[in-house]
């Protein structure tokens, strides 16, 4: 139910999952294939959503090698 509300509110299931992914992995940085793998969405969709989130500066580009995806 809750996830349905978010999906409707944010307009996309992928977007909700990507938002959650970044919120739960605050310190990490990830490349597109890694994000796509973890949120279980197709690469082009993830690419589009990441571009959107980048535009509003929710996320930033980083050059550092990624930190490992972990719990918490």
């Amino acid at each position: 139910m809750v996830s349905q509300i978010f999906e409707e509110l944010f307009g996309s299931k992928a977007r909700v999952k990507i938002l959650k992914f970044f919120l739960r992995n605050e310190a990490g940085s990830f490349d597109l294939p890694t994000i796509a793998k973890h949120v279980q969405e197709r690469r082009p969709v993830v690419k589009k959503e990441v571009a959107r989130l980048l535009k509003i500066r929710f996320i930033q580009k980083r050059n550092k090698p990624p930190k490992r995806y972990n719990h918490g």
């Binding site: 959650k20 992995n25 310190a27 279980q40």
Partner: protein, 163 residues
């Protein structure tokens, strides 16, 4: 004899070089540039995003998955006797997030289920899966893991164990 082995060796060696080049250059034969589709750009959360705290409160506080739907999916994995959630699902600290006790649980189905669940939650899920015998044994000997899990905050999804 020496000649023959030389003849055999050369093409093998060349093939390996070819394979190696292919690996680093891809099928097109062009060298991959740092930014072309190989995913060299990394993205991370902007810690100064103005609504960061609000978004966290909004999105991370409610349970990340519907327990009802989870229960149904877990039940379809095999003869599941007990399933409970804790940890990330309740926003509480515990030794694990998910425990499944059942016989003949389809491991491949379980892995798929876990993957989609992790996608929904946004993070790794610490889980344990065991058959009924192991669970009973662990409970009888007051196994630390099972005890902490059962005594800590948790929500039971499926319980078919007669007490």
């Amino acid at each position: 004899m020496a000649k023959r082995s030389k003849k055999l060796k050369k093409p093998k060696h060349k093939k390996r070089i070819k394979r190696f080049k292919r690996r680093i250059r891809g099928k097109t034969g062009k060298r991959r540039s740092a930014n072309s589709g190989g995913g060299r750009t990394y993205y991370g959360l902007n810690q100064k995003f103005q609504f960061l705290q609000d978004l966290k409160n909004l999105m991370l506080r409610p349970p990340p998955a519907s327990f009802n739907r989870m229960a149904k999916r877990i039940a379809s994995l095999g003869r599941v006797k007990l399933a409970l959630v804790s940890g990330v699902f309740l926003n509480k600290e515990n030794v694990a997030d998910l425990l499944v006790v059942g016989d003949d649980v389809d491991r491949r189905k379980f892995k798929n289920f876990l993957k989609s669940l992790e996608a929904e939650v946004g993070t790794q899920i610490i889980y344990a899966i065991m058959d009924r015998e192991e669970f009973n044994y662990r409970r009888a000997m007051f196994d630390r893991f099972v005890r902490l899990l059962m005594e800590g905050p948790h929500e039971i999804l499926i319980d078919k164990i007669p007490l």
